[in-house]
Subunit: 362 residues, 2 copies
Amino acid sequence: MSEKFYSYHHLFSFTKAVLEKLGCSEEHAELATKVLLSADLRGVDSHGVARLSGYVRLWEAKRANMQPVIKVIHETPSTAVVDGDGGLGLVVAPYAMQLAIDKAKNVGTGWVSVQHSNHFGVAAYHAMMALPHDMIGITMTNASPLVAPTFSTERLLGTNPICVVVPAGEEPPFVADLATTTAANGKLEILQRKSQHAPTGWIQDKDGNISTNPHELKSGGALLPLGGDRDHGSHKGYALGAIVDIFSAVLSGANYGPWVPPFPAYVPMPTEMPGKGIGHFFGAMRIDAFRPSEDFKFHMDKWIRRFRSAKTVDGEEQVLIPGDPEREMEQNRLETGIPLLPAVAEDLQYLGEKLGVSFEID
Amino acid sequence: MSEKFYSYHHLFSFTKAVLEKLGCSEEHAELATKVLLSADLRGVDSHGVARLSGYVRLWEAKRANMQPVIKVIHETPSTAVVDGDGGLGLVVAPYAMQLAIDKAKNVGTGWVSVQHSNHFGVAAYHAMMALPHDMIGITMTNASPLVAPTFSTERLLGTNPICVVVPAGEEPPFVADLATTTAANGKLEILQRKSQHAPTGWIQDKDGNISTNPHELKSGGALLPLGGDRDHGSHKGYALGAIVDIFSAVLSGANYGPWVPPFPAYVPMPTEMPGKGIGHFFGAMRIDAFRPSEDFKFHMDKWIRRFRSAKTVDGEEQVLIPGDPEREMEQNRLETGIPLLPAVAEDLQYLGEKLGVSFEID
């Protein structure tokens, strides 16, 4: 069955109404919807409205608090730790990023580590909050353990993304948003739906052997750190994922490593919990805390143009700047709508019926 | 021919004397030697005393200033830009890292971007300066363009390492120091000496085809970003290398991208120079700017022990913590000495004769 297109406006109203039914304030429902749908607009379909029912199941399992009292529990002029009170990461993260921005306004940079949160959607949304302030934005989060460190058969890390966003002048901003694995879990889901094999270097089986079966994680297999194997630098991907885990959770007092609470509500909680909820990390650096913004932007434009105009290998049109594909996707989808797989649309319709919100599939 | 072992003390006296002959103050010569030899101790042979003659050639070519007046040219409470005055990165980097540490003492974190510097040796030395202060240390640097971004046949980035160092309690610190390429250039040099092929995914030829020839860079080939190819996430390695370039150079006013001055003095300088020298970036975050150090260290120890005791794939003894191999190497080499290839020892002997410093090969 083919995908059907839904307008941003339609999905926005529906999602916001669903979140209000769960007890979110109008303000939180609107913010969470904006964050969630920014994933759909940017083409990160695995982190968008397709996850809405996952958030609802977290709420049903009493693993997410829809009326959180988010608060700062420790701070210095350039740092803070935020307690998300078990709220949706979709609202906790913008709070923490705004705090990082405010601190950067005062002392040049701001760094906020967050405990007791939940899945925060796409990292890029939060980091990009820095752009209108002429700041560099940084976002990280830990996540359900699906990744085996180099030489391990156990899953001890999440796909732990790093996002770094840099403003430019006339050019669009540089937006790098990357899981620290060879391939994000969402890409496996696409292969599963299409019944295709994964390239080697993406996953291993339960004993650590090479596997190309996209269903391998259901039988004890694991995603592999960026690099794939030791010869190709998987110890670097593992180190990057570890840094994200430490900054997001060991620094804040959240759960880390294999003890991160799983996003799917049907997966049992870890029996041991060394911290609270999942953890995130946010940074904001004011450009003019280093050099005048205009100078920086002149050179950032020059950087971007030089890379974009590089000679390409045969068959490739252009060297891309991080953020190019997602920006193009966003422009398209705002015009033509967001495509949803029939299974996703049905899931949303079912959700709507259960909560008394019309999804109106016509 | 086999390697011969030299004591740390011997190599220290020799290197320091050579640097003094170039005009370094005793203080700078001692510091630069300490930084340079920390690479040899940690087993990063490509960045240690084997490079000494390379630094001398930079001085001969008037590309390095042995009596730099290093100064802060811009600052806020948590940030600064440092002008290295064309000095050796080996002395400029510790100055800038110390400044980051001092700022962290005052406002929780410190972030310093550096222009007008040269190669700074191993990143880990500088980042590890944070450890005695119970701080997380971060170091980055850009470098001579040897790396082709995804889809490019042109070399536009250096191996641009990221180093993150985290203190623990009873466990040794977490020390991740990684080039943002599949393999560092030093590994190619080892294959060249052994006349062995490189694994696929490390390098491409001048047209962007897969190559396993470790000499490929001499005929227009390039190192590949971590990931190797698009299917295996090379766009992520490219983004990470780009972030290092931007933080180190676009933020500070150093040269970036293809315009970074080359380390080998026989390679002509770029005809265009949008900045000054090469760039670095340093960060220090006080642990207790987030949570009490004792709490953090308790959990960091727990993190390290859980990962180190993970079940391994057949044939592997243990899951390693970033920094484990280098720390073990350092303990060994302090006892047994530092092995140098005959070619390196001869090069040092020749250097000594030229400058009137005895290398005393016995």
